[in-house]
Structures are given as structure tokens and as C-alpha cells.
Symmetry: C2
Subunit: 144 residues, 2 copies
């Protein structure tokens, strides 16, 4: 396939714009029984292309998968523009006060009525190892 | 999390309706370097919850990943209804005349100008091993 290669800076800038505006992304984990697993998830905070934060219920099956294997991949798609960003990440499952405060906003009370210290909530920090951006024949990669 | 469990038949029927109408799904593979990989892909044919078919360029990196490991997972999401279907699959990479004819439609000529016998095209048959359907607190699983 003919590809037009983007510079690392250009790919990173475009990826950052797309991931910052994404309401929902798909997240793949190394699941059980040899199959990857995949879920739509809503980021609660993004920090450029260095980190993407989510929250989850402590009883979610993704907690078990991420304890077994911290490697996970994010895919964000704009159906309007056809842009695709992929971020290969290492995940931390966090429970400390600072991490909870870092991502909390009052609109999350609908999911965790106990607020930012709700004992059923865990914070997931996806630290980006490398990424790619593509739109049609344009493609570029970057690494952190 | 409180869940309302669906029967296997109900979960299968709802999953079938959703996957049959999906223009684009996310597909996760066991990628290189220990990370799962993930891509938006457009099904070219679905057969209930037994098989989902795609086509790909022979030079796509997904070919290499699927030769190494045939396990892959499909996630379809309706942003309107909030429904989520997941299908855990085993993938065959096909190149025979019958498979090409099985999935071909003339609108695919835009991707493969050589038509259904285009040497750059491969047919991917995702045979569904098991699946799940969820919407809000409703959840159900099924296996083939």
C-alpha cells in the first residue's frame, strides 16, 4: 500500500489532538485463554501522548487482566475524519489519594457515588510507550 | 456491579442484530512485543454469530500477526444504544476461489481494483468461539 510517511513530530501532534478529543476509545488487553480482550472505555484525563487515565470498578474483569499483564493498547478513531490513533501502553492500577484527586471531576459521581475516595474505584494510568497515527495513506509513528 | 443476566439465546440474538448492522468494528490481535494490537475494520460479510468475514491487503501487518497467532477478538459498539458485543474468534487466512466469491461485492473494487481475484487481497474468516452482549446492566454470554 502506498503510504505517505509523517514525521515523528507531526504524527505525535496529530495523535495528541485526536486522543484529547476522544469521548470513547477501544482498549485491548492480553486476556485470558490466549485471546486478546477489548472494551470501549471513556478516558477521564489525557496528558498529551504521554499518559491516558481511566477509572474502573474494582470488580471489573479488566483489573484481573491488568494485574496479570500490564501491557495494553488504546485505539481512538474519528468516524468523521477517518483518523486512527494507536497507543501502546504500560498500565498502573492506582489507589492513592493523589491519583484519585488527579483525575476526579464531579460528573464521575454518577459512576462512583462515594466520590473520589469511593472504595470501589480504581484509577488506571496508561503510560504511553509508543504510538501511531494514520489517516488514509498518511502514516506516522512515535515513541516516548 | 449489579447485572441483569440475559439468557444465552437472548444474548446471542441481540449480539447477532448488533454485529449484522455494524459498519465498523474494532479487532484485537495478539501483537508483537507482548502488546495486543487493535484496529478498526469493516466487516464484508457476517453469518449470524458464527462467522464474521473481512478482507485485507496481503502486506498488512495483521497478516503476520494472524499467521503467528490465530486468536483474535471483535468488539462492536453502538454509540446510539450503548450496546456492546464481543466475539472471541479463531481466524483463517483464505486465498481460494470459493472464499473470494463468498465475500465479494462490486463496491470492494475501490480497494482491490483487480476484482475478486486481485492477488493482493486475502480473505479473513473469523469463526466465533464465544461471545458476549451487554447494554448498561444487562449482560449475557454464549458459546458455539
Amino acid at each position: 500500500m502506498a503510504e505517505r510517511e509523517l514525521s515523528e513530530d507531526d504524527a505525535r501532534a496529530r495523535a495528541e489532538a485526536l486522543i484529547s478529543s476522544a469521548d470513547v476509545v477501544c482498549v485491548a488487553t492480553n486476556g485470558s485463554h490466549g485471546h486478546p480482550n477489548i472494551r470501549p472505555m471513556a478516558p477521564v484525563r489525557t496528558e498529551g501522548t504521554s499518559a491516558v487515565w481511566f477509572i474502573t470498578h474494582i470488580e471489573s474483569s479488566k483489573i484481573i487482566e491488568l494485574i496479570k499483564d500490564r501491557s495494553a493498547t488504546i485505539c481512538g478513531v474519528s468516524s468523521d475524519s477517518g483518523e486512527i490513533v494507536r497507543l501502546w501502553c504500560t498500565v498502573d492500577i492506582l489507589d492513592d489519594r493523589d491519583s484519585r484527586a488527579h483525575i476526579w471531576s464531579d460528573e464521575l459521581t454518577g459512576f462512583f457515588p462515594g466520590g473520589q475516595n469511593d472504595p470501589n474505584m480504581r484509577v488506571l494510568k496508561f503510560s504511553v510507550v509508543s504510538g501511531s497515527y494514520e489517516r488514509g495513506e498518511e502514516y506516522g509513528a512515535f515513541s516516548n
